[in-house]
Symmetry: C3
Subunit: 268 residues, 3 copies
């Protein structure tokens, strides 16, 4: 994977100003829209069954997020997902809270059956529950490093035949064959709500620009993580409130030179 | 139009602390409420069919915004709009995304049929689609200046028999007979989500105070734009995150002396 | 009531990282989640009828808030509330806008009938409307001090057989027998939307930790108020935007030493 190429995708993303259609949870709508705008993409949110297919068809990526799911939102997500599949528009699925309730786990798995998901992003607990291996995960959640998450990402990628991202202390990206670790980021991200949800939308913006999925996804993770690192040294250390604001600033201010200089990616 | 009068409406608005009933999209609820509070108005959000008429009847203005419309929200908007019409309460309609999908365009036009809208506010693309002239707009969207937007505002005002605001690099206000340009503002507003939506609510707060619609609307646009200009020179230049926060500060800190000094309004 | 004990509950809350299930209004979801995260609790939002009982059963407290109620949300609140009652999980009810429309008042009262509410929190107007005494309140709303609010809290606590919190210039907590005043806080809280809603969630986090309800509730109010006072002297004086951000910082940075030093609580 070419580091210079990774760093330069952001330039193209900003030129295209990709339209990103989000059907997401009601906790993170504002932060997601502001994060995409700061980055240089164009967010749109729409969930009515009467228009989701049309909205998706005009977009360059579709983000599906079940954080505050209900029956109607799920129906709209399936409609939008199928429209995206038909038009070859990439779909990012964020199975927020899979495993937390039986309903969520069922909806998350059904989504993988009904829609061809381009990138599946979650934390280790969510992804493990989606492949029926929740027992493996407790240790990872309690602070274990790398190993298990890499296997989990590979297994999920093979089972769902998609690209899987597992985020945490370090991020893992796997398509089942090739697997990468991205070590950019900062733990303060875990103190602001929607950090994972916005990341899923940012991945959508990057893979709408870069057709090589692993490269596009790694670029999204690195860009996001480096913006977080910079936010911490530019006021974010004052607390989660300031961090959230500085993070939006840095998503706007980051550029390919900064990314190239701070990128921490390796194949595993 | 008397500049001193424009500048002083804010004082009265703050004394009255107008209650502004918003049926708005789920991306901007928080920013809209905080913006109205900062300005000195009192926001309320309610959308249940069981209560929207009662809530509107107690308010001094009603804001309808279709950013994340669905069937139920649209029904509630119509109920609330009719209640407002009956009681003579001003209605601001923000047709977010009109033209983006056939459903949105249809709903936006139906709203104009069913409700007497006091002020219609959108960007040039949205307003043009509402009057079936989308072809005219591409150039404006690509950066052309004034001319077309002025004609568009006049035409829409005549067609809908209402006051129309088209926002962009400069803002146009027209009732079909008289037309004004407001040149306050800053392009950073386009980097934060809901800047237009909050503006629609702010217009509602101003026209609940000043019964001359053109004067009230121009005052809202100028106050909003000047607050944005001041936010940029008080920390907002750091990025869209800081700008959003400083903008809320400045909506709180602005006063009639500042407005009178920086007002950029002309009749065209 | 032991001041040192009040101050130290926060330590235990942070160790436990209580999971707080919120069924709340769409204006404050993001601020509530970020506030709980900053404090050291773990927020979750879920409202689907298919999962609310499961989600509540896994949580350490349930927060019900009718700020943007509708038929489906109310049904889910009742389901979740009953599940919480069955498992002995504390329930905080925030009757936002009770009295503003007949529907809201009715729903708020029904909720008290159907669910055993552990703590009821509102402003004086809301609580008075819930016990059918709206006439008493106008004066308090217009700026009167203490007396009436103390009686109101006691009466509501007796009528509903629960612990009642009335917030305002000073906060009153009563279980009908013992009543406390907490005088920490800052009026800037009234300039940011959701300050009361987040407080209800914070009370839930504290009473999930401290089983003595008066002590836990007083600790929540004092911690919240002191964080607000500190936010004002650390940037919040610039305006409501900055205050909101600094307040999140201070919810994160506050500790038991700071609370013990600044606590203003007295029995009345």
């Amino acid at each position: 994977m070419n580091n210079q190429k990774i760093a330069e995708i952001l330039n193209e993303l900003r030129e295209r100003k990709s339209l990103i259609h989000n059907i997401t949870n009601e906790v993170v709508t504002n932060f997601t829209a502001n994060g995409l705008l700061s980055l240089g993409a164009a967010p749109v949110m729409a969930h009515a069954k009467e228009e989701v297919e049309d909205m998706t068809s005009n977009a360059q990526a579709l983000i599906l997020n079940i954080g505050t799911l209900d029956e109607n939102k799920v129906k709209s997500m399936v409609l939008a997902g199928k429209a995206a599949n038909e038009k070859g528009i990439p779909v990012v699925f964020d199975p927020v809270g899979a495993g937390a309730t039986p309903y969520r786990t069922k909806v998350a798995r059904n989504m993988m059956d009904k829609i061809a998901v381009t990138v599946l992003r979650g934390n280790a607990a969510e992804i493990s529950h989606m492949i029926g291996q929740q027992w493996e995960i407790r240790g990872v959640e309690a602070g274990e490093t790398g190993g298990n998450k890499v296997d989990l990402a590979k297994n999920a990628a093979k089972q769902f035949n998609t690209t899987v991202v597992i985020t945490g202390k370090e991020d893992v990206v796997s398509n089942g064959t090739s697997t990468y670790l991205v070590e950019n980021g900062h733990e303060m991200l875990s103190k602001i709500t929607g950090a994972g949800c916005l990341l899923s939308a940012v991945i959508g913006a990057f893979i709408s620009t870069e057709k090589d999925l692993l490269t596009g996804t790694v670029a999204a993770l690195a860009t996001y993580g480096i913006a977080a690192e910079r936010a911490m040294t530019r006021g974010g250390e004052k607390g989660p409130g300031s961090f959230q604001i500085e993070f939006l600033n840095q998503l706007n201010n980051i550029n390919s030179e900064i990314i190239a200089k701070h990128l921490l990616v390796k194949e595993v």
